[in-house]
């Protein structure tokens, strides 16, 4: 009996559903509000919805948390100041936990309802949907990854120098400081995958330009003990080491090198450091001769931009530590906001309009020490790198040792997309 009722309900439901489909094509393109601003996906008369695809439960949990909270802070500040184009900003966050099924599912879920994405962690997933972004969706996506693979799309825009350019700048710093010279060997410890391989392309280029030899050591993200790598590099007689890995690997590398009396400078990409490392046993060694490259000033810098941000962030999230994810996230959201403002001026808040607006942005972000240029989709937004050093006394654990600068070798470097 019961089943028959269910059957009837299901049948009735089918009939109702068959009545009308919202998916049927309608031409709402080019809708405009009362001020003549053209709107499209994710934009209503009172609201602009942006998406953030982050990782708060997977391998990049700590980065994802900082980036997302910083972007939420930006949204709050922007809305307090009256929003953009008379509209409030809303950030829809999805946590994919670095799982491809969830990441691609989340992109598909949010894509129809948002104007663009201020954050997308996980370059494999960005690559997975890139053909959709370029082909049909055409919304701006700002990935939190600095691999050269992601450069070249008009819609997927990397903010900052790519890993290869950053590595060239870091090696240039070592040359400048006379820590290495022509004919020397340098070691490069790198992750398998696009991060490490991209950085390796940079160090090889720099080595060729400066007459150095690179000794490669490929590692897995699950390798936490760098003893074997250190002894191999020591044996090879390298004069400096580049590390393109996670914070844990960098700490192990520097710590083991110091303990075994292997006294060489170590430089790392922006992902190879976290302020939490200072509290570990490697903390002292890290503060001695370890340098990080990044495309922003450190959060603890005295300059106006970082100082203001760290204060606001500290007030909103008193329990969470400051790291460079905060700046990266805030910076990305600000870029998006800038594009929105420009798109509003030209009265076109559609995806196409915002895309065009982003292509006109130049000299952006000097607040954080580096100016970005988004006019050429085939180039990274900057080729400059700030070199920093771990320092327990500054909040955020980093202080600048060389302000933003671009090495000649990085200037001439052509990215391999």
């Amino acid at each position: 009996m019961k089943l028959r009722v269910v059957g009837a309900v299901v049948a009735a439901l089918t009939l109702t559903l068959a009545g009308c489909s919202e998916k049927a094509k309608s031409s709402d393109d080019g809708a405009a509000d009362k001020n003549g601003v053209k709107t499209g996906e994710g934009v209503t008369d009172s609201k602009i919805t942006l998406g953030a695809l982050t990782d708060m439960t997977g391998v990049y949990a700590s980065l994802g948390k900082s980036v997302t909270q910083a972007q939420q802070l930006w949204v709050e500040e922007t809305n307090k100041a009256g929003g953009i184009c008379d509209r409030q900003i809303e950030l829809t966050v999805r946590d994919h936990g670095y799982d491809p099924q969830k990441a691609i599912g989340a992109y598909t879920e949010l894509e129809p309802d948002v104007l663009g994405f201020t954050q997308f962690i996980g370059s494999p997933f960005v690559s997975a949907v890139e053909s959709r972004i370029d082909g049909q969706d055409k919304g701006i996506v700002l990935p939190q990854a600095w691999s050269a693979n992601l450069v070249g799309s008009e819609y997927v825009r990397v903010i900052g120098a790519t890993y290869d350019v950053e590595t060239i700048n870091l090696i240039d710093f070592l040359l400048d400081e006379k820590r290495i010279a022509k004919g020397d060997k340098i070691g490069h410890v790198y992750f398998e995958g696009d991060y490490g391989e991209n950085a390796l392309a940079g160090s090889k280029h720099a080595a060729q330009e400066a007459g150095l030899t690179v000794v490669e050591q490929k590692i897995k993200p699950t390798d936490n003990d760098m003893t074997a790598q250190v002894s191999a590099l020591k044996q090879a007689g390298v004069k400096a080491v580049v590390v393109s890995a996670g914070p844990r690997q960098a700490a192990s590398l520097v710590g083991v090198a110091a303990a075994t009396g292997f006294d060489v400078p170590v430089v790392g990409n922006n992902s190879a450091y976290a302020p939490q490392l200072l509290a570990t046993q490697a903390g002292a060694a890290l503060q001695k001769d370890y340098y990080i490259g990044s495309s922003t000033l450190p959060i603890g810098d005295a300059a106006a931009g970082p100082a203001k941000l760290s204060k606001a962030y500290g007030a909103k999230y008193p329990k969470d530590g400051l790291d460079n994810g905060v700046i990266a996230g805030y910076n990305a959201a600000t870029v998006f906001g800038e594009a929105l403002k420009k798109a509003c001026e030209s009265k076109d808040l559609t995806r196409e309009g915002v895309g065009k607006a982003l292509l006109t942005i130049k000299d952006f972000g000097a607040d954080f020490g580096i100016s970005h240029d988004f006019t050429d989709p085939a180039a990274p937004s900057t080729r400059e790198t700030v070199v920093m050093k771990p320092d327990a006394k500054t909040p955020g654990g980093l202080k600048v040792v060389r302000p933003a600068e671009v090495a000649p070798a990085a200037e001439s470097f052509t990215l391999k997309p």
């Binding site: 028959r4 049948a11 489909s21 946590d95 598909t108 049909q136």
Partner: protein, 374 residues
């Protein structure tokens, strides 16, 4: 034991009515109408649902095919396999390598044979079967937990290869999946307008997924209801007795292992088509465990159980995330509290415990009281 081979929603207990069911009798029962309504609904979904739901449905279908395969092995034969993710990967990557063109991407040279994609899909399934066949000397001899441990090795070997065989697999970033093309019809993102509704890859693949699921379900049901199914169940229940009765135990075990690998291969091909890119990270141990959770929750040993379990496990996280704004306890990411992803893990962990405690037969064995009478 006969219970295990029956479909939950199929009309009535076989023992009581198998001989006396006439066509008109069947028409009086609600089940055929339910099936009909369900099928019509499934066929209509692409016209109404968003791409998000269709994609979630496709994940569920792919998972269901894989789970049917695992259920043949684990549920019906009692062989524990932890290596299911490996065979999924063989199917997914096999399809990309066979059907993709050679190209260079991000400085990696990718090898592809450029076969017609329908042929690549068929060959990928056979390849997964062959991979299972290579493992069958082990699968035929080991049973239970021992096989589970042996197959665990497959995942680790598999992932190592996926990460390092750059020219075949694309390494860490995976490789793009060529869209399937069947009789000149391509399942890609090019818009085809059907009844004013634009059909993109998800809508097109939906029907392919349904057809694949139906075919896999019917085939597995055929196997389970026939002589091989009884032999498999006999092996599960009493290996020695089965051997004494003349069932070639090792051969059957090896055979069902190959069959289950082929199911995984097909699921892998479908998954790859939905993802549009294969990523090695995905095919890890968690995936294998999820498949085991599916068949335990749905019901060991039945096709319907596998399908129900697969739908439950693969839809739950998506549904929770989608409605995370309006659910109590589950919080939006970044605000502290339980994230939707975690919540769904807890929930199906709880579901596994609840099913084992209260429904030893799984959800598929839930029956209305009236039906229990014989």
């Amino acid at each position: 034991m006969s219970e295990a081979t029956k479909d939950a929603v199929a009309p009535a207990p076989a023992g009581a009515t198998a001989t006396g069911t006439s066509f008109t009798d069947r028409l009086r029962r609600p089940a055929p109408y339910l099936w009909l309504a369900g099928s019509v609904l499934l066929l209509l979904f692409p016209f109404y649902l968003d791409r998000f739901w269709l994609q979630a449905g496709l994940f569920a279908m792919a998972a269901a095919i894989g789970a049917i395969g695992l259920n043949l092995l684990t549920g019906s034969t009692g062989q524990l396999s932890m290596g299911h993710a490996f065979f999924l990967a063989v199917g997914a990557y096999g399809y990309c390598i066979l059907g993709g063109e050679s190209s260079t991407e991000n400085g990696h040279a990718l090898t592809g044979l450029g076969l017609p994609t329908w042929l690549a899909a068929v060959l990928a399934v056979l390849l997964a079967g062959a991979a299972g066949g290579l493992f069958s000397p082990i699968a035929g001899r080991l049973s239970g937990a021992y096989l589970g441990i042996a197959t665990l090795a497959l995942i680790f070997i598999g992932q190592h290869v996926l990460f390092n065989a750059g020219s075949l697999t694309g390494g860490f970033n995976g490789r793009p999946v060529p869209p399937l093309s069947l009789f000149g019809f391509t399942f890609d993102d090019a818009e085809v307008v059907v009844a004013a509704v634009p059909f993109q890859s998800s809508e097109k693949l939906w029907y392919l997924g349904l057809a694949a699921l139906l075919a896999s379900g019917l085939f597995a049901r055929g196997v389970l209801r026939g002589r091989p199914g009884r032999a498999l169940n006999a092996i599960r229940d009493h290996r020695i007795a089965a051997g004494v009765m003349g069932v070639p135990v090792a051969r059957y075990r090896a055979g069902v292992f190959v069959l289950s690998s082929m199911y995984a291969g097909l699921a892998g091909v479908l998954l790859a088509l939905v993802f549009q890119r294969t990523v090695p990270e995905y095919f890890g141990m968690i995936l294998s465990l999820e498949y085991l959770a599916m068949i335990v929750i749905g019901g060991l040993g039945s096709v319907a159980g596998a399908v129900i379990g697969a739908a439950f496990v693969s839809l739950l996280p998506q549904v929770l995330t989608h409605y995370s704004d309006s659910l109590p306890l589950v919080s939006a990411p970044g605000t502290g509290g339980i994230a939707p992803g975690e919540a769904s893990r807890y929930l199906y962990g709880a579901a596994v415990v609840a099913v084992v405690l209260f429904l030893p037969g799984g959800i598929a064995r839930l029956k209305t009281p009236g039906e229990k009478k014989k």
